[in-house]
Point group: C2
Chain length 405, copies 2
Amino acid sequence: MTVTLPGPTVGVVGGGQLGRMLGEAAAPLGVELIVLDPTPDPPAAATTAEQIVGDFDDRKAIMELASRVDVLTYEIELADPDVLADAAEEFGIPVHPDPSTLRTIQDKLVQTEAVADAGIPVPEFVGVETKRLLSEVVEELGSVMLKARTGGYDGRGNVPVRSPDESADALQTVGGDAIAEQFVPYERELSVIGVKGADEIRTYPVTETIHREQILRESVTPARASQEVRDRAESVARDVLTMVDGRGVYGIELFETEAGQILVNEIAPRPHNSGHWSIEGAATSQFENHLRAILGWPIAPTDLLSPTVTANLLGDTPSRQSLVRTGDVSPVLADADTDAHWYGKREVYPLRKMGHITVTDRTRANGESEVAAEPLARARELRDGLGFAAEWDRQTRTRTGLLMF
Amino acid sequence: MTVTLPGPTVGVVGGGQLGRMLGEAAAPLGVELIVLDPTPDPPAAATTAEQIVGDFDDRKAIMELASRVDVLTYEIELADPDVLADAAEEFGIPVHPDPSTLRTIQDKLVQTEAVADAGIPVPEFVGVETKRLLSEVVEELGSVMLKARTGGYDGRGNVPVRSPDESADALQTVGGDAIAEQFVPYERELSVIGVKGADEIRTYPVTETIHREQILRESVTPARASQEVRDRAESVARDVLTMVDGRGVYGIELFETEAGQILVNEIAPRPHNSGHWSIEGAATSQFENHLRAILGWPIAPTDLLSPTVTANLLGDTPSRQSLVRTGDVSPVLADADTDAHWYGKREVYPLRKMGHITVTDRTRANGESEVAAEPLARARELRDGLGFAAEWDRQTRTRTGLLMF
């Protein structure tokens, strides 16, 4: 293909931190972004040319976006696949990843069925709508994770069910239609960021993801798993990338079972929190490769440059609050191996992703790919010094007990 | 010091490519930029929150800028130091680097006198206003480079004078008040990017700069000079950084004479074209460190990550023209070691800086700091395939003869 500059304009549904980091990657490439987001001045505003204010399923706004760009993509699963497909057809432009993939992924039952149908290993699962069925499933499978089929995000909409008599409450919490997945005793959670280009598939080195309260706290790359397990994870990720339709970056969440098996947990059709390490730690960031992929440009190398740990900075205030400041970030700024990433959100609420920090382990020689324990400890320590709660209410409470990292 | 997020807002006079790359560095740090530029939608628009449209010396516009930010800086020497000083005083905010430094640097005669007065080696120089004096100077010193005292940029305003009878024409070309510098037979031109922070000075590895028609074409880092010469260049750069007033990144252009001496050529009180390699090749880019310095934050490491070559993409059309496209950039996009940087300018004219490409020499093991010959050849080849002229007028002329790289 021939590519000339000035580059194309990309329409992005969603203007959160993923849009912001897409914008950081777009400018050097000569790619302009227009984002669609319901909130004026969202995180992506600082790094993109323009915003259309509208909901993720606002047909008029999406049509306007489509009328002004060369390709459509999205950085949030709440984008409406039908409207995207209509807009793309109306204006004769592509949408990547394909709206059909988004539609499949939006429904966790349909997603898991699709993965299973492709012969890719997943936990045992059943679609459940009634308390009675859920009780039977729990009788049969033991503990399950009950997930709302649609609309869940960052663990919201997920409820563990350990005995049949918890069924009614659990179903009510997730709001009805759900998928019950057998709880798998796992050694660790893994993630693979994959890139599906015009005519090639590439994967990034396998990342270990550390969750608490079902929210990603830290990522360690490469994962501290055996080479054999990492190879298996990569192979499963490639099968997923082959299955999905449409170009782009995908975040593929996996379980490494205690027996060393790899099971697919969830797929995100977009750059993923567990791939933020690639900004510093890989030859090319997941954001640049997402742009390259959706534009049909050559995919750039996904090689590891240095072992890398990222730690999320989450909202730790007890309620929603505007313009709260962090604690002192100067220890982060003073640390030679640490980079800060602030998302520019105007409000903080409990567990909201406000930023992340990245510790790059440059002490490791080339080829030595294990992460030392120290960078993870350091990332946690630096991140834990950064909460909002102390500022939020420094008069009336101590910070201890409020930290939710 | 204590630093909390959301971060400060920085006012930048100038919204060109340096402002654009400052914006790329600012977003992750949570720093917002407002740029002042006379051209609507300048290169920095894509990466910054807001623009004030106004000339670089527009008092009202600069006052408005100052009223909305926490610190002022500039990315172009055409900024007005007196207005900046007034605005800073009016609103009680700092300007970095100090307006007095900008004032000194704006006048090449005053600048060179200041460097010489600090005991730092410079070529022999004389201020000249008349043809008669210039003739005498050329008689005495031999060939000189005649430079307009003010307003020169990218070699514009510089005229070599090889014999006394060229004096009248040369003075007319530079427009009167000038400085004549003895032409020094040099081995190579070097550059050191220096950072002056609140309480420390750091330098980046020495860069070799390759000019043609007095415009920077390629930069090679580390410079292909002896370790002794590089150490001397760094030491001279430190002396310059000690001399100047005000925090920030400085680009320090040097000559390495045939005898291995280091002479200061010119100082830029801002990030510099010869430091663009630091985006990929150093632990921290010159743009991030400029922001850190002007904010009084800790300076981040300036260490070399990989030997790096950059090549400028210059306008090669025969005249000013809007919205010309480049040739095919796909070979650049497909090269695993090459990154593209497009400045998003809406017009092209001869020798205008439109972008650059960076080839990172990752074949070199850690500690092996020489650049192999191949990356420079590759950078040139990729860049030479990228001109505008072919597109500009592909019907009526062949590209040969128009390439100005």
